[in-house]
């Protein structure tokens, strides 16, 4: 308790709070500009942290890290272009809701869900970091492979139409993920001598292409279509309604928030699992729940056409990952993801090392970071509600035919900045084209993106497991040695079987109704 107080007193310094505020505002802005993300923002703050005191620099980074995911939801809802990868699913229901004239509600739900998810994971970081870190350490090659399988299985529930197309999308993604060095032998696969592909297809430009450029191409299609038909293109949605979600809406979203925050927290503490997996898993669970409880009821839209849960799920999941990804970093010194790895750099410049030693040598800083995540989420809510009107208003400064190329230029320049190379631009263009082609061919995106995220995890952990176990496959379902893996595998099977059973039940019900009707008629 003393240590928590120490963290609070450090944080209460007006300078520290000020820098946290700067971080939050900067994060909201950076997140809301497609093509810019927290990685690039952090990269400029790391050298800056030389001249700042460590508490200031870290407060700034905490604020920034918490806020970018919220900022990313703004263009996702207003323009259907996610500002960051974390808002990739928010764009679906969020933009649909905005087009229904409820842009304010959509933004309000996004912000409140983010704050809730972020706050909850801040609490986890504050009170449960040591036991959670011990849990994270139990994830070895066996468990990580099973986790990857679980992630891939979760996508089955999201397949609407053709199962074959969903599987094609997944396998295509897994195949793309094999590009680059084989971790097992070092052999460069499908690289054709291109140095830039050695480490695999660079991930940031790949994602920027898939969500940014694909969206730009869709907007272009709309523009050209309207132009040829002589229709005046529909305006971008405006905020006409209240931003604050009503009390009954909050009560309704509470189960979704809790469920998705829990998923985000668990995925977040496991090093290497990643934010996108948490978002998709939360989204899948919520879609299942929404279809059971609300779909078809009066006043409720179809899933994907503006359901409040469709915004709440990804937004609470992504912010729940933020603070919990700091659990392995602060307690063990193991970076949870690429952004928390940048925290190492910032600490290192100050001569500090994340991990248990940080709590011994610099308890004030260690606890300030932890308390900071909690504080940042509390402060972020009001700031976001204040800023969101002006940020989303910016969209209307530009007419649509100018806005679309601006977004394209931002995305492509952002892709360039990832490795400072034109090659990254080409990757973004190609992946954007592929993403757009998938849309046109009715091939779902979700399996592709999850496969790209998890492909390497699955292959590398599988081969590492097999080389340790001497080729024994049963190790994945060994209840004594690897109980977590068994649980994950059972979960994966349930994910796969669930939709099949509910589908069968629906068909059975339909048939029963039909026979009843026939009986009545006869």
């Amino acid at each position: 308790m003393d240590s928590i107080l120490l963290g609070f007193t450090t944080l209460m310094d007006p300078g520290v709070l000020g820098f946290m505020l700067i971080g939050i505002v900067a994060g909201l802005i950076v997140g809301s500009i497609p093509g810019l993300n927290d990685n690039i923002a952090f990269a400029i703050f790391i050298p800056l942290s030389f001249s700042l005191s460590p508490t200031y620099a870290l407060a700034l980074m905490v604020g920034l890290y918490c806020a970018t995911a919220v900022g990313g939801a703004i263009p996702a809802i207003m323009v259907k272009v996610p500002g960051t990868a974390s808002a990739i699913l928010t764009a679906v229901d969020g933009h649909a809701m905005a087009r229904n004239g409820r842009a304010g509600q959509a933004l309000g739900i996004a912000i409140s869900s983010s704050v809730f998810g972020g706050f909850l994971s801040g609490l986890v970081l504050l009170f449960f970091a040591p036991p959670m870190a011990a849990f994270a350490l139990r994830f070895g090659y066996v468990e990580n492979f099973s986790l990857g399988i679980l992630g891939m299985a979760s996508v089955i529930g999201l397949l609407g139409g053709s199962v074959v197309k969903g599987l094609i999308s997944a396998v295509f993604g897994l195949l793309v993920a094999t590009i680059g060095f084989s971790q097992q032998s070092g052999y460069p696969r499908f690289t054709y001598g291109l140095d830039n592909l050695y480490e695999g297809v660079p991930f940031v430009p790949l994602l920027v292409g898939l969500f940014g450029i694909t969206a730009v191409l869709e907007l272009t299609e709309e523009l050209v279509h309207d132009r040829r038909k002589g229709i005046k293109t529909a305006d971008m949605p405006r905020i006409t309604d209240s931003l604050l979600p009503s009390w009954s809406m909050m009560k309704r979203l509470m189960p979704t928030w809790l469920q998705c925050s829990a998923i985000g927290n668990i995925i977040g503490i496991i090093p290497g699992a990643g934010m996108l997996m948490a978002i998709y898993m939360g989204y899948e669970r919520s879609s299942r729940r929404y279809k059971r409880l609300y779909e078809g009821k009066p006043g409720e839209v179809e899933w994907g056409k503006g359901a409040p849960e469709g915004i709440a799920a990804p937004e609470s999941a992504n912010n729940a990952v933020v603070a919990s990804s700091m659990v392995p970093l602060l307690s063990l010194g193991i970076p949870g993801n690429s952004v928390s790895a940048l925290f190492i750099g910032a600490l290192m410049i100050q001569g500090m090392v994340p991990g248990p030693l940080l709590f011994m040598d610099h308890p004030d800083i260690a606890w300030m970071i932890i308390v900071g995540f909690l504080a940042a989420n509390i402060v972020m809510g009001p700031i976001a509600f204040l800023l969101v009107r002006s940020i989303s208003g910016l969209v209307f400064l530009l007419p649509k035919h100018v806005l679309v190329p601006t977004i394209a230029l931002l995305c492509l320049t952002g892709a360039y900045s990832d490795e400072n190379s034109v090659f990254s631009i080409v990757i973004a263009l190609i992946s954007g084209t592929v993403g757009y082609a998938f849309r046109k061919l009715d091939i779902p995106h979700a399996p592709l993106i999850l496969a790209l995220v998890l492909g390497r995890t699955i292959e590398d952990n599988l081969s590492n497991t097999l080389s340790i176990s001497g080729g024994d496959w049963m190790i994945f379902i060994d209840p004594v040695g690897h109980p977590i893996s068994v649980a994950l595998m059972v979960g994966a099977v349930l994910f796969m079987v669930g939709p099949m059973i509910s589908g069968a039940r629906k068909r059975l019900q339909a048939r029963r109704q039909q026979t009843e009707m026939e009986l009545q008629n006869s």
Binding site: I40, V164, P405, V422
Partner: protein, 154 residues
């Protein structure tokens, strides 16, 4: 029975070729790293074949529409070409500003309500400068600069 007009038939064929090509390429990798991609490529091939069969059998399959194809080529198609050309100009040492302004102005004018309007160029210059400022100055990204200008800066 216009199989050739069906979208799924063509995407199936595309993935079939991709799967076969990936399989053949992966065969050339060393033994430890080839099994997994070969396995994936084979599955992709099989799924693609299944998709083709489905599209042939399905009487209500979605077909290609000439007008939407035209829009596809004129809109997104042209954009990809334009930005691709921009990337080539950047790589060839054309700097960042000039290619960006040209491509931006062309694209904006193409879908604008009034095409021939000198203001498109003005808007392009303004916005490209804003983006350039943001990345080059604020975010310290070493964007490509024309060699002559770089020497001048040095």
């Amino acid at each position: 029975m216009h199989v050739v007009k069906r979208i799924d038939f063509w995407s199936g064929l595309g993935f079939l070729i991709l799967g076969a090509w990936a399989f053949m390429t992966a065969r050339g990798f060393d033994a430890t790293s080839s099994t997994y991609p070969m396995f994936l490529a084979a599955i992709l091939f099989g799924l693609a074949a299944l998709l083709i069969v489905q599209s042939v059998r399905d009487p209500d399959a979605k077909t290609v529409h000439p007008e939407s194809t035209r829009i596809l080529l004129l809109g997104p198609g042209m954009r990809i070409v334009a930005w691709g050309g921009w990337a080539v100009a950047l790589a060839a040492g054309g700097g960042y500003l000039l290619p960006s302004i040209v491509v931006f102005a062309l694209i904006a004018a193409w879908v604008a309500p009034v095409r021939k309007d000198w203001r498109h160029l003005l808007v392009a210059v303004g916005l490209v400068l804003v983006v350039f400022f943001m990345f080059y100055v604020v975010f310290d990204v070493p964007l490509p600069i024309v060699d002559a200008l770089q020497d001048l800066l040095d």
